[in-house]
């Protein structure tokens, strides 16, 4: 009962924050609302007992991406260009997509149902054998770094590529500008 109340409360706050982030005209306020959204989302993950995901959400969504977004705002200005509050074609697209998605959730298994298809494939093996096979108590880490090691390798490569791309683009552009001035 208490968990249900907490979940409803968190989800209500999430919806309010999301609407606020879209409705507010100041981009700085929108960025900060998105940071709050991430922190609330982290609490939802904790409530779903997914602490590793909650950790990532809080560190990345609430921390780093907020800083980077604010840095970006310095370039593009902190006021959104005035636009009508409701853009009807987009509103129609959002409502239709949302309705389809909600219709899709009707077929989803109940939350935490052990008979649900995703819990029938490899997950039982990980839960039962991760400790004896890897001696790593947190089997989320065992799955990420060992059973799914290729995925994590290429995720790291994606982050690396992002850093490399930024160095080449921004630092390269600066070097070219300096070259031209000479």
């Amino acid at each position: 009962m208490t968990t249900l109340l907490i979940d409803v409360f968190l989800l209500l706050l999430l919806v309010i924050t999301a609407i606020g982030a879209v409705a507010v005209r100041s981009l700085l306020a929108a960025t900060l609302l998105l940071a709050i959204y991430s922190l609330l989302m982290a609490l939802v993950w904790v409530s779903l007992q997914a602490v590793d995901v909650a950790f990532t959400e809080a560190a990345v969504g609430g921390g780093i991406s907020t800083v980077l977004l604010i840095a970006t705002l310095v370039f593009i200005g902190r006021r959104e260009a005035p636009a009508p509050l409701i853009h009807w074609p987009s509103a129609a697209a959002v409502v239709i997509t949302g309705a389809v998605l909600i219709y899709g959730t009707l077929d989803m298994p109940r939350f935490g149902d052990p008979q649900a298809p995703p819990h029938q494939h490899v997950a039982p093996h990980y839960i039962a054998h991760a400790m004896e096979e890897t001696r790593v108590p947190n089997f989320v880490t065992a799955v990420l770094a060992s059973y799914r090691g290729y995925d994590t390798l290429f995720e790291t490569a994606v982050i690396y590529t992002a850093g490399l791309g930024l160095i080449l683009l921004l630092r390269g552009a600066r070097a070219r500008r300096r070259e031209r001035r000479r």
Binding site: A59, G63, I64, L68, V136, T156, G163
Partner: protein, 140 residues
């Protein structure tokens, strides 16, 4: 400058503990929540906090750009290197069992810790690079 004394002192006190926590999260990813990604982001957050308060020049003096550029690749190299090591030891790519054939689970633990360290290094270096490059672009 005067009103910043409190912030400067607090940051000076906080940053070492943030770094310590980041390293802890990376090293204890196999025991509790967290891992290379989260720990790397926390390390970067410590640097960004320092650079925000003391200025990006001070940040670069403490952690030179050449070093962060190099560490970008070092993390991925560690991860890929562990994979190559297991191949050279006669296994499949990233088959950590080969790191300790006599006791495969111990090899798995070692491999997982090594790749988490690799992920942590790359993630923190890339986040610091992102911040530095954006900050430098903003200043012009």
């Amino acid at each position: 400058m005067n009103e910043q004394v409190l912030i400067r002192v607090m940051v000076q006190l906080l940053v070492p503990f943030i770094f310590l926590f980041g390293v802890y999260v990376i090293m204890h990813g196999e025991l509790g929540p967290g891992g290379g990604f989260q720990g790397g982001v926390i390390l970067a957050a410590g640097y960004i906090l320092y650079a925000l308060v003391h200025g990006t020049d001070a940040g670069k003096r403490a952690f030179p750009t050449r070093l962060s550029d190099a560490l970008n690749s070092v993390g991925v190299l560690i991860y890929g290197g562990v994979g190559m090591a297991t191949v050279l030891l006669g296994g499949a790519y990233l088959d950590y069992d080969m790191l300790n054939p006599a006791d495969p689970p111990a090899g798995q633990t070692l491999g997982i810790i090594l790749v988490e360290i690799g992920v942590g290094i790359t993630v923190s270096a890339v986040m610091i690079t992102l911040f530095n490059e954006l900050a430098r672009a903003v200043r012009r």
